[in-house]
């Protein structure tokens, strides 16, 4: 019985979060005595895809077609189901993202499979298949048993520690997968794609430097950007900042914005409203810089500095440049 793992590509490269999904899926395959098979959709090459072997995948099915160049959850879900059927996979694992959720949902309806999204740890497979997932935007967890024959798990970032010790030692076999594409899945016309180029994406970032209203205006962002550049970090912001148009909406982190889970989250001039915390509580380490010692964010932080953010940021940037 195989475990089928869907991975996301970014310009042909496997996303870091998807490598975690591979590692997660390989552990589940080991637990259930099956093979870990990966599905990749879109342009890439064998040299890149065989890297899935580093994290325990035995085989990669690669579906590539000009028509598949845009994120298309309908077509991708069709392919996922065809791959699951041809490999006789009973467990399907995807990374948590808009695309991952949409594909998982469609595949679950097609396969009449139980679906659990937001999984935060490996399943228990003794005496029923039980998984734990994040609920209430990180404020709690729920453990559920999946009872259906086919099971679909959408796995959150940081659900598993990525062991990089075997990188470069094991190559997965890459096979071309030629699914049947249905015209019905290609009705929409993509008019325009706007992607911030050259920036580190928030959902993939290992480090994020984020600013709030304490930054006092869009013209004051440079010291924050300097620190982000020194750390190779992505930049984010709080809701008021994106509402005021100081920063673009795709940088908004929080309950109604993007939820992030970096190794390090540095909050500059953000008080830490509960709605903002909901977007960052998956972070491994949180640093808060705020002039108000009573800012609620300090309660959720690992490290804190009370003081003027415009004096502190250049000091951090200098120290960060020194270690790189």
């Amino acid at each position: 019985m195989s475990v089928l793992i869907y991975i996301e590509l970014d310009n042909g490269s496997i996303k870091k979060t998807s490598l975690e999904t591979v590692a997660y899926g390989a552990k589940v395959a080991a637990q259930t005595g099956g093979q870990a098979i990966v599905l990749a959709i879109g342009k890439s090459d064998s040299d890149e895809l065989e890297k899935a072997g580093d994290f325990g995948a035995e085989k990669v099915l690669h579906a590539s077609d000009e028509k598949l160049s845009h994120e298309n959850s309908m077509a991708y879900a069709d392919i996922l189901v065809q791959a699951a059927e041809s490999t006789q996979s009973k467990i399907i694992i995807l990374p948590k993202s808009g695309l991952g959720d949409a594909m998982a949902a469609r595949a679950a309806a097609k396969l009449k499979a139980g679906i659990v999204s937001g999984v935060t740890a490996l399943p228990e497979t003794e005496g029923g298949f039980k998984v734990t997932r994040s609920i209430f935007t990180g404020k709690a967890f729920s453990t559920v048993e999946i009872k259906s024959d086919i099971k679909i798990l959408v796995v959150k970032k940081n659900a598993i520690e990525l062991d990089e010790s075997s990188v470069g030692t094991v190559k997965a076999t890459v096979e071309t997968f030629s699914p049947q594409l249905r015209d019905a899945d290609f009705q929409a016309t993509v008019v325009e794609v706007e992607k911030a180029s050259g920036e580190v994406s928030l959902t993939e970032a290992q480090v994020i430097v984020s600013g709030g209203r304490g930054m006092k205006g869009p013209e004051n962002w440079q010291p924050l950007v300097d620190l982000a550049n020194a750390l190779g970090a992505a930049t984010g912001c709080s809701k008021p900042v994106s509402d005021l148009d100081w920063r673009p909406h795709h940088e908004h982190i929080g309950q109604t914005g993007i939820k992030v889970a970096p190794n390090l989250y540095i909050a500059c001039g953000i008080s830490g409203a509960i709605q903002h915390l909901a977007g960052v509580n998956g972070s491994k380490c949180i640093v808060v810089i705020n002039k108000d010692p009573e800012a609620p964010f300090f309660k959720a932080a690992d490290y804190g500095i009370v003081g003027d953010v415009f004096e502190i940021l250049p000091k951090l940037t200098e120290a960060a440049r020194a270690i790189k």
């Binding site: 808009g98 499979a113 929409a188 390090l264 509580n281 300090f298 690992d302 490290y303």
Partner: protein, 245 residues
């Protein structure tokens, strides 16, 4: 045009979450319930499109009777009528089956809901419903315009956005800034009292998942404070102590 907006009934975003009955039930004591914030965006845009096209808007909730104040609020904001499927939803699959069943009977042109509910955060109901109905779905939609049968959508993708055109019928998961939240006015509140709210029993669904128990995250350790004058030392601590750089 017939529009359906599906709403969730969820604890306010500022709620402290605790559990009762041996960690098997949410403690609703002192918790304020609201229309899901993302659903509220969907509803606001739905009302605008209903007015623009001269169509109708039905609001649908799958859940128990304690959601009725939130359903009435949706009616006050501008929905014409409401349907409540009288069931405690077991999981996303269960909810989707109920929505799809109603949608099959009513042939809506456009089904809107939030990108995810803020209680279970799954973000899969729109995809499930659309697949069950055999139609397309998109999420998270930040901009939505309709002209005749053609819909123009801006949706968020990783690190940017994509603009696309598609034909009705569609299921869309919505988020800001698709519309501004609407606050019901007095006239809306008065008329909402007499608008139809139909309660229907759920269709049966095979049990896909069974909840076991809830748990809370481990409490956070104390925050280590660093004097502003020694801010630079933080970087070294992040590297050697926290090991995150």
């Amino acid at each position: 045009m017939k529009i359906l907006v599906c709403i969730t009934n969820v604890p306010d975003t500022t709620s402290k979450i605790t559990f009762t009955d041996n960690d098997t039930k949410l403690n609703k004591n002192g918790v304020q319930f609201i229309i899901g914030p993302y659903d509220d965006y969907a509803l606001a845009r739905g009302v605008e499109l209903k007015e623009q096209t001269g169509g109708t808007l039905t609001v649908l909730h799958v859940g128990e009777a304690d959601a009725e104040p939130q359903i009435r609020k949706a009616l006050a904001i501008g929905a014409d009528d409401a349907i409540r499927v009288n069931a405690e939803p077991m999981d996303s699959y269960f909810t989707a089956v109920q929505i799809a069943d109603i949608a099959r009977q009513e042939n809506y042109d456009l089904i809107l809901m939030g990108r995810e509910s803020i209680d279970y955060n799954s973000g899969v109901v729109h995809g499930l419903v659309a697949e069950m109905l055999g139609i397309s779905s998109y999420s998270p939609v930040m901009k939505l315009d309709i002209s005749g049968n053609t819909v123009t959508i801006a949706r968020e993708i990783d690190g940017g956005k994509e603009i696309l055109t598609a034909n009705l019928p569609l299921v869309l998961g919505c988020q800001e800034p698709i519309a501004e939240w609407k606050i019901p006015n007095m006239r809306g509140i008065m008329t909402a009292r007499t608008k139809p709210l139909k309660v229907v029993e759920p269709v049966s669904v095979i049990e896909m998942t069974e909840p076991q128990h809830y748990s809370l995250p481990a409490p956070k350790g104390a925050c280590k404070m660093i004097p502003a004058s020694e801010a630079g030392t933080l970087i070294r601590l992040l590297q050697t102590e926290a090991k995150v750089l």
